[in-house]
């Protein structure tokens, strides 16, 4: 059925006719001139060239290795969540082409369910920068972009990676066709992994090696993008992603015989119209999502499921009011319809948000003033202002100063509000005040940056037991602050020899400053699963057809209880990859990837060991 669909699509695309037109580049240039990023705010963009190296991975691996982000993962292909700037997974909103895709029930996204192969760019907005897309990302947000950029003619690529340690096979097929006013692109993904890897069983006296059980995964995905250029200023885009994932869920180590698994189905479709003029950009769109998940534990006959239907309408506009002044706005409306085994009835929620932004730029100064407001089921949840600047103090623009202040809030999730009996409809929104300032210096191929940030989060929502029953409550106030240092050095020694080096370091202090009566021991204690130090180092060297990449992370100890008595030791996984390219009419890449190069035994989540050294070999043919 899946391949029938694909063959049918190939057939259709071959018979589309019309005149050749190539105005896409012009439209994109104009678009980038008007629709500006949040100048003065911190963000990180991982482009398609980086993503292509991670085509067989999910977003969590990409963000850890290339983004230097702290990702909490339980296993390969297992639940993975992102923590940005010392805040939790629920404080990190994930967007797909500017539309929020966090589960409204849990309030977070499982990054392992998002394959890199289906996205062209990943933009990480840190702190206040996330307000460009929406509220709720008190730590930051991740925007997964599908750009639908298709070259004229027929393009085809097929890639396969096999990891013999994990017994994991990943196939990615990509096909595109563009002629005249139409373009089509199809991506197919098939992943099968046994994930039966060796680990040290610390629950046994002599700490023997055991083999991880009940950890296999199978995923199939299809993505379809269709674009129609109405004329030089107007275009229509349709994007669809369908993903099925069937995964066993390994238990905490020391437990054998647990049979629990999860079936996830996700369907996401989006239709968008864009108008791009010299001084106006307008985008209107609708999106429909249907996400279904079913969890089964055969040992205790526990079965739970949820089905979330999301309707989204969005509008984005940017208009040049003056040569130095651009006004932007963004409207989003999401309507959730949720059926969950945890709810007594079907739950509906309507969210509406509006954002207005003014960009002023003159000579060396850029200023941004932004205001956002949210409504939930018609009730306004407060106004969120933010202000940012960037300034080049020297004529050569080697130095750059930037900073911002912002206010943000996070709404309680539907589970927080409506979980049977224990849900708490009296919960208040979490409130945050964020501040950051930074300095950057660059010259030729060398760049350095330093950022200091701080945020105060009040009315933090936490589930805790009351008389033995766990309920969500607004329990504490948290302050988190940190320093981010980064350096990048690109050097070219000879015509066919090139090296890129990047170093990043993050220091994060995220502590409770106010807690409920009786919990005073928790004051000034680092939040769980927030490493104080996170270092990452990347070296990429290219010589002719050969490319070598080395990525080294170092995550300091993370506390796993709130009073900071129990912890996970530091870990420093490294990845080495080699790629060799052959051009012979088409293009063939052969690659070798060694993960966990130094064979480290480590846990990112307590009781869930990560794989020791494992090797993948891959090839990709592009026509």
């Amino acid at each position: 059925m899946r391949f029938t669909f694909f063959l049918l699509f190939l057939f259709v695309t071959c018979f589309v006719n019309g005149q050749v037109s190539d105005t896409l580049k012009t439209i994109l240039i104009v678009h980038d001139r008007i629709v500006r990023p949040m100048v003065g705010y911190s963000s990180l963009e991982l482009d398609s060239s980086i993503l292509s190296d991670y085509a067989y991975q999910d977003i969590s691996v990409l963000l850890f290795q290339k983004g230097g982000m702290y990702v909490k993962a339980s296993a390969p292909n297992g639940l993975a969540t992102l923590s940005i700037r010392g805040l939790g997974a629920s404080h990190t909103q994930i967007y797909w082409n500017d539309i929020p895709i966090n589960s409204p029930t849990l309030g977070l996204s499982d990054l392992s369910s998002l394959p890199v192969a289906f996205f062209d760019r990943v933009v990480v907005n840190l702190g206040g920068a996330s307000l460009a897309n929406g509220s709720g990302s008190l730590g930051g947000s991740v925007n997964l972009m599908s750009d639908n950029k298709v070259r004229v003619g027929f393009q085809f690529s097929l890639g396969h990676q096999y990891n013999y340690v994990l017994d994991a096979s990943d196939i990615v097929l990509r096909h595109s066709y563009r002629k005249n006013l139409w373009s089509f692109q199809t991506r197919l993904l098939k992943q099968v992994a046994a994930n039966a890897y060796k680990y040290v069983d610390i629950t046994q006296v002599d700490m023997p090696f055991e083999v991880r059980g009940n950890s296999s995964m199978e995923r199939f995905g299809v993505m379809e993008e269709i674009a129609y250029r109405i004329n030089e200023r107007n275009d229509l885009n349709f994007t669809f992603i369908g993903l099925n994932k069937d995964s066993d869920i390994p238990s905490v180590i020391g437990v054998s015989g647990t049979k629990q698994y999860q079936l996830d189905k996700s369907r996401k479709g989006m239709l968008k119209w864009r108008l791009t003029l010299e001084e106006l950009y307008l985008e209107l769109g609708v999106a429909l999502f249907d996400d279904n998940s079913e969890y089964i534990n055969e040992n205790i006959f526990l079965r739970s499921e949820f089905d979330v239907k999301t309707r989204s309408v969005f509008q984005k506009m940017a208009v040049k009011l003056h040569k130095n002044l651009i006004l932007s706005s963004k409207l989003n409306s999401e309507s959730y319809n949720v059926l969950s085994s945890g709810f007594e009835n079907r739950v509906n929620q309507n969210r509406f948000s509006i954002m207005g932004k003014l960009d002023y730029s003159r000579n060396s100064l850029n200023l941004i003033a932004c205001v956002r407001s949210d409504w939930v089921d018609g009730v306004e949840r407060g106004v969120l202002p933010s202000f940012g600047y960037s300034f080049f103090p020297d004529k050569k623009k080697r130095w750059k100063l930037n900073g911002n202040v912002s206010k943000n809030h996070r709404l309680p999730s539907l589970n927080d509000l409506y979980w049977s009996v224990v849900g708490n409809t009296d919960l208040k929104d979490e409130q945050s005040f964020n501040f950051e300032n930074g300095v950057a210096w660059s010259k030729d191929k060398v760049g350095l940056k330093a950022i200091y940030y701080s945020s105060l989060v009040d009315d933090w929502i936490q589930w805790r037991p009351i008389n033995g029953i766990w309920r969500p409550e607004n329990v504490k106030k948290v302050i988190n602050s940190g320093v981010e240092l980064g350096g990048h050095w690109e050097t070219i020694e000879k015509r066919d020899w090139r090296a890129d080096l990047s170093i990043n370091y993050r220091w994060t202090k995220s502590v409770n400053i106010e807690v409920d009566s009786g919990d005073e021991d928790l004051i000034n204690k680092q939040l769980i699963y927030v490493p104080k130090h996170h270092f990452s180092f990347g070296l990429e060297m290219t010589k002719g057809r050969l490319r070598m990449s080395y990525v080294q992370g170092l995550v300091s100890r993370t506390f796993i209880d709130a009073i900071n008595k129990r912890y996970l030791p530091y870990y420093a996984p490294a990845e080495l990859s080699l790629k060799y390219r052959i051009d012979n009419g088409g293009r063939t890449d052969f690659g070798l990837v060694i993960n966990n190069l130094y064979n480290e035994d480590y846990h990112i989540q307590a009781g869930y060991p990560m794989p020791r050294r494992n090797v993948g070999i891959n090839f990709k043919y592009t026509m």
């Binding site: 040290v200 610390i202 629950t203 006296v205 700490m207 238990s251 905490v252 180590i253 020391g254 437990v255 015989g257 647990t258 040992n299 205790i300 006959f301 526990l302 079965r303 049977s420 009996v421 224990v422 805790r464 037991p465 008389n467 033995g468 029953i469 050095w489 050097t491 020694e493 090296a499 080096l501 409920d516 009566s517 009786g518 021991d521 270092f535 180092f537 070296l539 080395y550 080294q552 170092l554 796993i560 209880d561 709130a562 009073i563 900071n564 008595k565 129990r566 912890y567 996970l568 030791p569 530091y570 420093a572 996984p573 190069l597 130094y598 035994d601 846990h603 307590a606 009781g607 060991p609």
Partner: protein, 359 residues
């Protein structure tokens, strides 16, 4: 020019080598570690405290408390045996010089020498979710299991032979069972998944009766008269919670209901002479078995604490476990027989059950 290029190259190599060295550093610690150490390792304490640990984190632990000296040792199991205890320490029972530590999510029961706390055996229960263990005649023991069985799948009480430390039989009771007691050849089991106390003949290993009580019977004790008391939570606001008295001879049951459906009473225990019942309902409540009236006034108020477990010693001293929101270590409060606080001390995460070695 050549010098500059060489300098760049050297810098690049230096950083690369530093990165490689950093990654190749070896460490000894693997997985969860604890930075709290015991001053002394108590092996003669009279009070054993089961600390559940946080679910799915392998942080179950055993604390041992010397009542006379008011000293506590934490993580005793791990310190003695050198391995983690497992995930969710559910309950403790004792028989013939051995402790049986039921570790729910690890699907096992540790069999431990009561003098040294050294593991002498382990009973593996794959595909089970063991909760409590009681000991009967003929060297047999019984282990209850959690199961939600929405479609009527079988749910078993496992019969364990203590000679071989293996499951020799399983009795299908059809419902999720929590606490149990044995009276002669009769096993009384709280049918948490229903509204019954299941009665099993341990000779024939068959269910012979089901005594109807309130919704979700969770705790069961036997008083000095031999009668059985059963506490029912009422479910999550499904029914008023209730307390039941069952005559073991006639199996006649009499129940009294709490007044507020929002209450969730748990952890019914009885003092060592079988006269006073205690249970948690935010605070600690106390009831004389001779006066079957559900108390409305707490014997010990919860205050800002989060009471999670309760135990009563031979001199009617009350020990209360505070889970501290499962934020880390738990706290045990020790009260005298009048309900006055004597002392408190830190234990492992989620102190839920107390076992007195002088029982």
């Amino acid at each position: 020019m050549m010098f500059t290029r060489n300098l760049k190259y050297r810098r690049l190599m230096l950083v690369a080598v530093l990165g490689l060295l950093m990654g190749s550093c070896h460490k000894k610690e693997i997985g969860p570690q604890s930075s709290c150490d015991n001053d002394v390792l108590l092996l003669q304490g009279e009070l054993l405290i089961a600390c559940e640990g946080l679910f799915n984190s392998n942080s179950a632990s055993l604390s041992v408390y010397d009542i006379e000296e008011s000293e506590v040792s934490n993580n005793v199991f791990s310190e003695v045996n050198g391995s983690l205890m497992g995930d969710v320490f559910q309950s403790i029972s004792y028989d013939n010089g051995l402790y049986f530590f039921v570790v729910n999510n690890s699907q096992k029961i540790w069999v431990v020498d009561s003098a040294s706390y050294q593991v002498v055996d382990e009973i593996l229960l794959p595909n089970r979710s063991p909760r409590y263990m009681v000991h009967g005649e003929n060297n047999l023991s019984y282990s209850s299991n959690l199961s939600l069985n929405p479609n009527g799948e079988p749910v078993y009480i496992d019969v364990i032979d203590k000679g071989s430390m293996a499951v020799i039989d399983s009795i299908n009771v059809g419902v999720w069972v929590e606490e149990m007691i044995v009276d002669g050849n009769m096993l009384f089991a709280c049918g948490m998944g229903a509204s019954d106390v299941v009665v099993i003949d341990t000779d024939s290993r068959e269910v012979v009766s089901a005594v109807q009580v309130g919704r979700e019977p969770v705790s069961i004790v036997q008083d000095g008269n031999g009668d059985v008391w059963v506490l029912c939570t009422g479910g999550f606001e499904e029914e008023l919670p209730s307390l039941w008295h069952i005559d073991v001879e006639t199996l006649l049951a009499e129940g009294k209901y709490f007044t507020d459906i929002g209450m969730y009473p748990t952890r019914l225990i009885i003092d060592q002479i079988g006269e006073q019942l205690y249970f948690l309902n935010n605070g600690v409540y106390k009831m004389d078995v001779a006066l079957f009236e559900i108390p409305v006034q707490a014997f010990i108020e919860t205050g800002s604490n989060d009471f999670y477990g309760v135990g009563v010693g031979s001199d009617s001293e009350v020990y209360i476990g505070d889970a501290n929101g499962f934020n880390g270590n738990g706290t045990v409060f020790r009260y005298n027989a009048l309900g006055e606080l004597i002392t408190s001390f830190d234990v492992g995460t989620g102190p839920s059950m107390f076992y007195f070695a002088d029982n």
